[in-house]
Structures are given as C-alpha cells and as structure tokens.
Symmetry: C2
Subunit: 419 residues, 2 copies
C-alpha cells in the first residue's frame, strides 16, 4: 500500500461484497495487522508464510502462541508454505501453494518492504549495503548539503554497530526532528536502534526489543532464556490478564539482550522498560531490583519483568535447570524417554493434561517420590512452572540426577494444540 | 489498619448502614485510596489535609488536578485545614477543624506511617535517623546475624545517598528476596531508591518517580520543568485518553530528575520508563531519542515521554520560554499586568475561556499582531500549549519583548475551577 487510495481500493472491494476468501501472502507485521482488519470485516483469511513461523522478529515458540490466537479467531495460518501462483480469469479465484490451491477472491501481498532510494541513487548519493540511503548519525547523506530520514535510510544496530533497516513510524518521526534540528544549525544525533517493535493481533498485544534467542545465538552469544507467564497486575484485581514474557540474557555478562511479550495484558509497558534495560546494558541482577512504581491495579507487587529477571538469575546461578518448549517438543518427537511430571492439583489435571504425563500433586510429592525413576530425565511442570520449579528443587535435593523445569509451564506450551 | 480484621471492622460499620458521612484525616496515599473505596460504597467523604495539597509526593499543580477529579466524584477536599478534635457521645458525630465542624459518622486517621522498630530496639539493634531499623545494602542490621526488610527498615535515597523511608509493598518484596538470598550464602544488594509511587484515584492513575520540583529545588538543583498533556495512544484510536505528564530536569546537566503522571491513560507505563531514565542519569536529549516500541494502540508515534523530553530541550535551548500555572496564578492574584493570549479557534473559545483573556486564533495572528502591546508580558496558550508555543515563536520573531507559553495549556490549568 503506497497511500490511502490503495486502502480505499481494498475497502471498496470488501463493501461490494466481492471478497469472502482472502489470502495474505506473508506473515510479517503488515500481513498480521491486515489480517485482523479483514477478519473483523467478516472475511475468511488465510496467511501463507514460507518460513516455519509468522512474525519472525519473535522466537518460534512466541510466534506459535500468536498463531494459535489467530486461529482462535478463525484465521488459517499456513507456515512452511510456498506461494506458487494465482488462478483465475481476469479476477483472482485461487492461490496456488506448495500445499495446494487456496480459494481466494482477494490476495494481499505483504512480502516485505524495501527502501525507496531511487531519487537518492539518481542524485549520486551513497547507498548502503541494505539498499537504503547511507546517512551518518546526524542524518546527513554523502552530500553534506542533503539530509535524509525515514523508511528510505539505513540505521545502525545497537549490538552489531552494523547497518540495519528500521522502517517504522516512530523511527521516522524522531529522525525527522533530528534533520530539522541540524538544518537549523543546532546538533542532534540519532542513536543506534534496538529493533523495538509492537503490533496488535485481536486481543493480543505483541511487543519485542533487542535480540531474540535465535539472533543472539547467530551473533555468537551464549544465552540463557526465560519464559515467564504471569498476570499483568495483581491477580485479585478485576481485569487482570496474563502476560507472556520471554527474556534473552547473555550468560557471560548476565546482561539483558532482548525481551518479547505477548498477551492481552500490557506487553508494551514491559517491553518499553526492557528496552531501557537493554540499551543501558543492565544485568538481570539490576533489573530484578528496579524501583518500578507499584499499585495493585498496575502490576504485580513484583513486576512481570522483575520476576522474569529473577528466574534468569535462578538459572544463571544453577538453582533452576529449565528446558525450553522447543527443546522438549523436539525430544518428544524423537521419542526420547522422558518423564513428564505434572505437579498440579487433581482438579487442574482433570481439566487439561498432557498426554503421557505422570501426575503427582506438589503437596504429596515428598511422600510419593519413591515411585519415580532416579536416572531418567524428569521434566516437572505446572501451569506457569512455579510449582514445577519447587518440585524440581525437592527432587534434586533427594538425589534425582536430571530434573528440569518446563520453561513457562503449560501456559506457554502450544505444541499439542499445534499437532 | 494493622490487618484484615481492621478493614473488616470498617466494612461491618458500612454494611450496618451506620456510616454515611465519613471524614478522612490526611490526604496522603492511604487517605486517597480509602476515600475511593468508601465513596464507591456510597459514603459522603471529606478529606481533611493540613497542608496546601493532597498527595505531597506530587507537585502542587499536579495534586490540584487530582483534587478536582476527586471533587468530580462528590468527594470534598479541604486543604489548609487543621484537625482539632472529635465531637460525639460514645459514637462520633462530628470532626472539629479549623474550618468548622464536619458531620461524621465515621472518621479514618490516615496521618502517616512510622516504622515499627520496637522489637529491633529492644534487641539493641542500631536505629536510623528516621526511626527505622538501620541496615546495610545487604539488608543486614548492626548485628551481623540479623537481617531486616520491609516497612520497619530505612532505605537510601538515590539522589541524596541519605536514609529515607519507603514503606511500599514493592520495596518490601524485593528486600525480602535479598535477605533470603544472603541468608542462603549468596550475595545480593538492595540499591538506592527513587521513590517510585503509584495509586489509583477513581478513573485516574497517579504515578511518580524521582524528585519533584519542590524537592529538587530544596536540594539545590536549578530546574527546568515541563507540563505535557497528550493522548496516551494515537488520538484516532478508540479509547485514547489524556495523560498529564510533568518532568523535572536539572538545567545544568540536562538530566531527568523526576517525572509525575496522572490521568486515565496509562501513567504507570510512562513513569516506569522515566524511572529507568532517572536511575540511568539520562539527559532529556537521550530520552527524546529512546527506541520505545510503537503501534497506534500503545502510544502516539512520539511517545508522551519523548514529547515531554523534546519540550524540555526546547526550553533548555531557549526556543521556548514557559510560565508555570503556579507562577501565572500567583501573578494574576497579585494583579500584575499580563496579557493572556488565547490562540485557539473561535468554537473552542466559545466553549470555554479564561476570564480577561484576549482571543486571536493562531491562523490570523500574523495579520493581527499589531493589536498587541510590545512591552507587556504576553502569555500565549491553547489547550495543550502547542499552538501557544507557535504563537510565542511568531511574536518573539516579530520583536515582542516578553512572550511566554503557559506550561501545559488549559488542560493543566485547574485554577479558575479551584477559586
């Protein structure tokens, strides 16, 4: 979409009743945001994404939670699916993919965004490695009398100090002010970026900043990760909603490298605070004692970010040994011999359970631990893995060799639903 | 209240229908929070406060906005009022004050909180200057085998490095974890505090961190202040609500010293981010280019805090000369000769106006500026002081000697309503 006219064109097709089945090609930010708009208009929407997840700024397990949320609203999400062509006669009737033909009255291409640097190129200005106009920190191009800002320029990444591309309104507006300041003779500089991103997906907010786990590993960091689901305010306050938070921590320096949050409960707040910690190169030890403001209607008494930082410390200090949902999933698929230990109450277990799990409520674990094998990997869990953590401490103290806690617990385990 | 029993005692009186007129003695956090609880139960509540404002962690003009909000819910707020005694015969019938007798079936004393350090005193532990148990950063008392945490201990203030008293649940919980960590043989320290505080007052959230203007001046800082009202998300998003933000900036170092936010729109988020900036000794120039996450439903494209930081920069750089509501109010009361220039549209002016203001819409100011005196203090304003700022720039460029902008505009001018 290059302007309001394009959006009005789509709206006209919808209002003429000519679009019921819509295929979105590309599951990035734009694809997901337009999906919601179309689904709310009554369209049957399918997202076609060639990678193994949508929203690749998130790690895989976080993206899967968003996919499940989309599916709960009737949206079909096809990952690992290649677009092969359109079918139709003058009007589109279907979309050919590696998974067959999808019926379609309308298709929207949301395949990515590239800097429009054509004018700069014609003017002989330097272009960066990502195709955007090259600027210095003052937003000055290779011609000292020409400045550039916004979606056409390249920025610098905080971690790599290498060029990156950040086509976001928040970036463009700040850069615009810097250009104006510098043109007027004062001096202002645009800093390196953390890739802070947010979007709304039906009831879920999605926000992230810094490095995700995959990118951090690709850059050579040894990382410790945390999945921490908990209410966004005191659980007794009406309207409290679950926030699902992931932290990525540099194991060596204990610095926070990145954070991702999703859920109906104020993810943007926690990510903005995390952004400050990441940009300030703060350790999780510092984050755990941040003097954030507290009232029961605004946060738990230990804010979600503080709790997540404390989980990271427990892991870094060896008190907690976790296993990520992705890793556990891989091992289950590989038919490894793992004991899944559910330590929730009987009524919780009756409501929902993992197949092949063993159930011993935490309160009677000490009496019944003799039933468990001492030499096998035991993965303890509850809904959020607090009781799972306690169970693991009890078993490890009793000499069980390899007890781990399912990171994030059942609240962040979308895998059985995805099969 | 020393436990749930006390709260249940109050509830029993209410449910027996024996309390209609309630007087709260003390307009601090507890007094204000209990006011809301009682007003929602149908009581006629009066707050009696001896100082010239409630919630003295806020600056005066911010507290006045909260007082107006309380009054809009039928609560009577009596500041500058001294409690003199109770009237009644076995049961309370009235409260005697310096402003006369207030009818009362129930009175609640919310006069402050003192550390309960009696046990520590009896044990011979060192007590600090504020009456709390003296602890080091490891939460260890003067006896190396005894630790203390929570409302009975003194903390250290970030700015003064002097003892302070922070009886908040968020502090107590963090300190509790530190004590446990240290008892178990590991090492953790509790940092200096920023006095981050939040509470809810009907539809308003109230949050603050760092130094307020008065405290900063008392500590010898030369300060620049900002009042910045603006929507908490993009103005076109349904549910956008005004956030009223105040920043206190050290004029010399340009560092953010403190922030206060009130309003229905997510003040806690901005104060938590501000807390990070204050604790990180960031300048407003750094705050103005923070890489906060953005989507229209989460914030304006320039977040409220970023906009406020830019206003601070405009002031520090001499582009904007402001006048605080408090200062303007003082001058009006002193009958100084000031021209109040309202530059809003005709329809806005028809709806609400300041008495004795002169009205020239911004769009025709250049044509009509000849009508204005060049040698008199002109205070330009609109609703939020953006157009007021533009008007001031136009007039100053045209040679008007002393043009200032009303900080925060009419949105943060509660004074005529308070007369």
């Amino acid at each position: 979409l290059h302007g309001v006219n394009d959006a009005e064109g789509i709206k006209a097709v919808l209002e003429a009743g000519k679009a019921h089945d819509v295929v979105i090609l590309g599951g990035g930010l734009i694809g997901v945001e337009i999906t919601e708009a179309l689904a709310r208009k009554g369209c049957r929407v399918t997202i076609v994404e060639k990678r193994n997840q949508i929203l690749h700024d998130l790690d895989w397990e976080m993206a899967k939670l968003v996919e499940l949320h989309l599916e709960s609203h009737g949206v079909k999400v096809l990952t690992n699916t290649i677009f092969e062509g359109f079918q139709g006669d003058g009007r589109i009737r279907g979309v050919q993919t590696s998974r067959g033909v999808l019926p379609a009255d309308l298709a929207i291409l949301a395949l990515g965004i590239r800097p429009n640097a054509e004018l700069a190129r014609q003017a002989g200005l330097a272009i960066g490695p990502l195709g955007g106009v090259k600027v210095d920190s003052h937003m000055r191009t290779s011609d000292p009398d020409i400045y550039a800002a916004g979606d056409c320029v390249e920025s610098v990444n905080f971690f790599t100090q290498q060029p990156c591309y950040e086509p976001f309104g928040s970036i463009a507006n700040k850069q615009g002010r810097i250009v104006a300041t510098n043109l007027c003779g004062a001096k202002d500089t645009f800093p390196a970026t953390l890739h802070s991103v947010a979007c709304q997906v039906f009831e879920y907010g999605v926000a992230r900043s810094g490095l995700n786990e995959q990118t951090a590993r690709d850059l050579g960091y040894e990382v410790t990760t945390v999945l921490a689901p908990s209410p966004d305010r005191e659980h007794f306050v009406p309207g409290a909603k679950t926030l699902m938070l992931k932290l990525v921590v540099d194991t060596k320096s204990r610095q926070l490298l990145g954070a991702q949050a999703i859920g109906p409960g104020h993810p943007d707040k926690r990510i903005d605070v995390a952004t400050m910690a990441i940009g300030g190169r703060m350790t999780v030890d510092q984050v755990a004692n941040l003097d954030l403001c507290y009232a029961p209607r605004f946060s738990p008494v230990m804010d979600n970010l503080i709790t997540a930082a404390n989980i990271a410390r427990n892991k870094l200090d060896g008190a907690m040994v976790g296993i990520t949902p992705m890793e556990l999933h891989r091992r289950i698929v590989n038919r490894e011999d793992i004991l899944l230990l559910d330590v929730r109450t009987h009524s919780e277990y009756e409501q929902e359970r993992l197949s092949h799990s063993r159930h011993i409520p935490l309160g009677i674990l000490r009496e019944r631990m003799g039933e468990l094998p001492k030499d096998k990997l035991i993965v303890a869990f509850c809904n959020i893995s607090l009781r799972g953590y306690e169970a693991a401490l009890i078993l490890r103290a009793a000499g069980f060799a390899d007890v781990r806690v399912l990171d994030g617990g059942l609240d962040m385990w979308p895998y059985e639903k995805l099969q």
